[in-house]
Symmetry: C2
Subunit: 617 residues, 2 copies
């Protein structure tokens, strides 16, 4: 193994501009550094430059045209949201969030930028939710009020997921949710008809939309897979899509997440068969870690366990929550679910546990068991632990740590590498191709994925005969216009606002640039605050300066460095005070910061944030 | 997609102990918080508790026995190093480093803990380096002096890699390197014979060791793969291992990195065949991104390019460096390598570029091209870009960003998903099994991998007939003793020092706990420093307190919060000064910190590090 080593370079501008470090002579207001136009992220972040939204009037009137505006989910896997503007009406599809990554330290989520919608909230007629996963519903509490609390249409499982999540935001007004049963056609605004149809994903009640417009039908599909036996779609799938036979479709949108993966994905039915064998044959406790969002699989596990006379224990917050919905909707018989406290009343081979934490999440059930900090469950050498999930790449190190700990328990471990115990909810390339072939569309917009995935998906569409000009690869905020009676599709030169919006504690904001950049810097080399009091009459330091440092060096072993720093500060201050007239505190702070940064880098090869506090007393 | 959401809990002890925040009345020395026994890492880190090394005399005298002490590489993939102690002699094998992860923010590397060796440096007779990759040589500059600058034995390519790297540390004394040609037997100490033998990896001159001891032979193999055609080892491999036929081996150690992967790995010869087709057929510039450490592949690319009359441009620091070694050793003809400045003298279809950065490294050649910041190379729509590497999981997001940018250039992209253009240097399970079957060993110690990989590798050995007691799964610092004339192997109850040692700028230390913990906290919610001056006579604040904050909230939009914080600080201070006698600054700081933390959390749901500076004037 080998990687490139970054040469160590002293970059002056990496540090703070000392002008921001207000001493007592100035108010703190201006603490944000002036005159510096900073990128929202550290330089390492190669996200494309977000274009500034200029003025609303730069966007031409829509007239008779149709606009598709992806607000999230087309430069990432996450925060899916798309606006469809048809004359005077706007329909929104989905409103998810995305988890942080290493470029957004400390934040909770990234959500779609809804400014375009906020400025047009009187036009919003409805929001449709394709399914109940957080990357499709998680953003709702943060923007729903700002866009005027439109009616939310969802099938039943998704509707309950949305309501449950909304209960965590008691300060918000209740949502106006309409539950679709799948057969009805909804009339939106003046004349837009919206039908829904069932599609396969990993959660009940996932749907696609057919939006009837004056130019033709828009078939809007987000997350989807195609159930198949070794590449042959099941009859159910064929039935679901046969409605499009001989139909002309204006526009298709489709999930791009797994377009890079060749062939057909493993069928969930194979996974369920393997579960059946394992549940039937296991002669000890069976602990299954999977995503709580894999509701279809959870249903199967509960049913199979019942068939073999086994009791199921549900553990972990999101797992309990989703099983509550299953019970509430009476989707299956759940008599064999028992409380964790009753577990010891049954023989070990009669116990199946369904637990959260297969991604190594710090506080989830499985990690607590592995850490021996779980209140009720101690792992035993005789247990069988089944990790029924692939690894989300950003969780890789956490999963490694989990596996290391689980192996120390000496339990038997089964993963997707040993046996087919996980299938994805996103169709591979051949599945997507099959869907393309079922729908006779004119225009294609790939959604749900990073730019490179969308590009590959666009190529797939072209390889099936779609003319180059009929395929649009959007960015977040692209305004895609269908005009000329449905004969032309193009991206307008102006974009909807697309600055990244972060949820950071209670703050929901598109202006966290400086904050995130500072967090990155702080995590590299910490902070170095110096406090010096100057006798304004003598121009001398009242005493040796004080230093407060965190996350920089181990201070107990750095006494020489601190003493030399104090001496340096003293010298720089006293050299720069002429003893006559006003003391220029700003100049002093700048000089001290510059000299100290240079000194600290030379001595430690680290560049902490240096903050000088210089007081005149 | 859905994951668990961590409930937001206000944990008081997450914050700083205000006692550390020395005001002017106390020296800075005690800045490390007293009385708190902190874990070296934030709580989230589930690494096993490292046991404290008590006293050297707890380790019983070695007597006639043999000890194997893995000092790194058996709880991680990285920082490989093992000591072999035979009576009065110590031999060291490898001395690598490991890259940081999310639990060690800001540091450069993690290196093996060499304290055990430092305390026994008079016994060290030799260090052997199995090959020139950084996870086997990268630690040398940081510990070689401390262990007494022992002789380093390596084959030629590795020897030059070590020397080149050492040039970056001009303050260190020169290394004492002995270049092995592979045929000789080296006598170490009184009577230990060490032979080396060739093995397959991704870099020339990789070797395994045969250490002849009074108890028998130790066959020491680190990184290794087995060249094969669809699961049939090549004749060369069969030749390399036939020396072990009918030989009794005391102990085998072996790479565990890819034991989890079933079957045989893709052969490098298949990769090279695919390269040949691509290089032959490409009718534009071909840009190949790969690891500079894949030296065997680089050799093949240069040769194939020459065969088809193509010129090769080398770009990126580590790539240039490794190609210099290739030239110096005259491993192949390199006449077709041209300078980047001469590139425009050739037709595009005569140009092959070999560049660094396939892992999305920020400053590497490929990322600079993708960012349009490369001085010489602008990507063109007609280019073909070949990413000849798998994705190291911790680089996943960086590679995604790279791919997104490369796709925006509209060049043609080929990855290992499209075509077999990358093979690993670590053998899959069946390759490892084949090696086991070639060597008739008594004891087995798996090395080079996380604990769960070692466990799986141990199971593999047992499945081949090794008795349970003859397989040892070590931790870093485990002292494994072979005694009873080579008939018994066991792990001693006492461990060698195994605290994690970090390289952080110029600091090499095993006591960075607090520093790393603070960096993690700072990256979550930043810092909030308050500066208040109290008139010691009146007990009143001289003026409204000042606030300096970074990485917490966007200050320009938080003026109310700041004003309320100032008011709160003022109230708390004035309420806690009785106006008589000495002011208890420590008590004041504690009160201010506690109240402010509570207030800021209630208002923002964030917990910055709060540092109070309270001055008496």
């Amino acid at each position: 193994m080998e990687r490139n080593i970054k040469p160590r370079v002293f970059t002056k501008n990496r540090n703070t501009n000392p002008n921001n470090n207000r001493g007592p002579k100035k108010p703190v207001n201006g603490m944000r550094r002036k005159g510096m136009k900073l990128d929202r992220r550290p330089r390492s972040n190669p996200r494309p430059q977000r274009k500034k939204f200029e003025k609303a009037n730069e966007i031409p009137a829509i007239g008779n045209n149709i606009r598709i505006i992806p607000l999230g989910g087309v430069e990432e896997v996450g925060k899916n949201m798309t606006a469809i503007e048809i004359g005077d009406d706007i329909i929104i599809v989905d409103g998810g969030f995305q988890f942080k990554d290493e470029t957004t330290p400390g934040i909770d989520y990234i959500i779609p930028n809804t400014k375009y919608l906020e400025e047009r909230k009187d036009k919003i007629r409805a929001m449709f939710i394709t399914h109940g996963h957080l990357d499709h519903i998680g953003g709702i509490p943060y923007f729903i009020e700002k866009i005027g609390n439109p009616k939310i249409y969802s099938r039943e499982f998704g509707a309950i997921m949305i309501k449950k999540r909304h209960e965590e935001f008691p300060h918000l007004p209740p949502l106006d949710i309409v539950t679709l049963d799948g057969d009805e056609t909804t009339i939106i605004g003046e004349s837009i008809k919206v039908e829904s149809f069932s599609i396969s994903h990993t959660i009940p009640d996932a749907m696609g939309l057919i939006i009837h417009t004056h130019f033709g039908k828009i078939v809007f599909v987000e997350d989807v897979r195609v159930d198949n036996i070794k590449g042959i779609p099941t009859d159910e799938e064929i039935n679901q899509y046969k409605r499009f036979k001989d139909e002309d479709v204006l526009l298709l949108t489709l999930d791009s997440t797994s377009v890079e993966k060749p062939g057909w994905s493993l069928s969930e039915s194979v996974v369920v068969e393997n579960f059946e064998k394992i549940i039937r044959d296991v002669d000890s406790r069976l602990i299954i870690g999977t995503f709580a969002s894999q509701v279809e699989r959870i249903l199967a596990i509960i049913e199979i366990s019942d068939r073999y006379g086994k009791k199921v224990v549900i553990e972990g917050r999101s797992m309990v929550s989703n099983v509550e919905i299953i019970k509430y909707l009476k989707l299956i018989k759940t008599d064999n679910i028992i409380s964790i406290n009753d577990m010891e009343n049954y023989a070990p081979d009669k116990i199946v546990m369904l637990v959260t934490g297969s991604q190594g999440e710090e506080f989830a059930a499985l990690m607590r068991m592995a850490n021996k900090s779980h209140k009720h469950i101690q792992l035993r050498k005789t247990d069988t632990i089944l990790l029924s999930s692939s690894i989300i790449p950003s969780n890789h190190n956490a999963v490694i740590r989990l596996k290391d700990k689980l192996y120390r328990s000496e339990a038997k471990i089964i993963t997707y590498l040993d046996s087919d115990v996980h299938a994805s909810g996103h169709g591979n390339r051949e599945e997507l191709k099959w869907i393309h072939e079922q729908i006779n569309y004119k225009f294609f917009i790939p959604l749900h994925g990073n730019h490179f995935m969308l590009r590959q998906h666009g190529e797939l569409s072209k390889s099936l005969g779609t003319p180059e000009d009929n395929v649009i690869i959007p960015d977040n905020g692209s305004i895609i216009e269908i005009s000329d009676n449905g004969n032309k599709i193009e991206v307008l030169p102006v974009k909807a606002p697309n600055e990244i919006v972060t949820v950071d504690g209670f703050s929901v904001s598109d202006i966290q640039d400086v904050v995130l950049r500072d967090r990155s810097l702080l995590s590299e080399a910490g902070i170095f605050v110096i406090v010096a009091s100057i006798n304004t009459r003598t121009g001398k330091l009242k005493k040796s300066p004080d230093i407060i440092s965190r996350g920089f060096v181990y201070l107990r072993e750095s006494q020489d460095l601190l003493q030399e720093s104090r001496n340096l500060i003293k010298r720089v201050i006293e050299r720069n005070i002429d003893g006559k007239g006003q003391i220029d505190f700003e100049m002093l702070k700048k000089k001290v910061t510059d000299e100290l940064m240079k000194f600290l880098f030379q001595r430690t090869a680290k560049q902490p944030l240096v903050i000088p506090v210089i007081l005149g007393v």
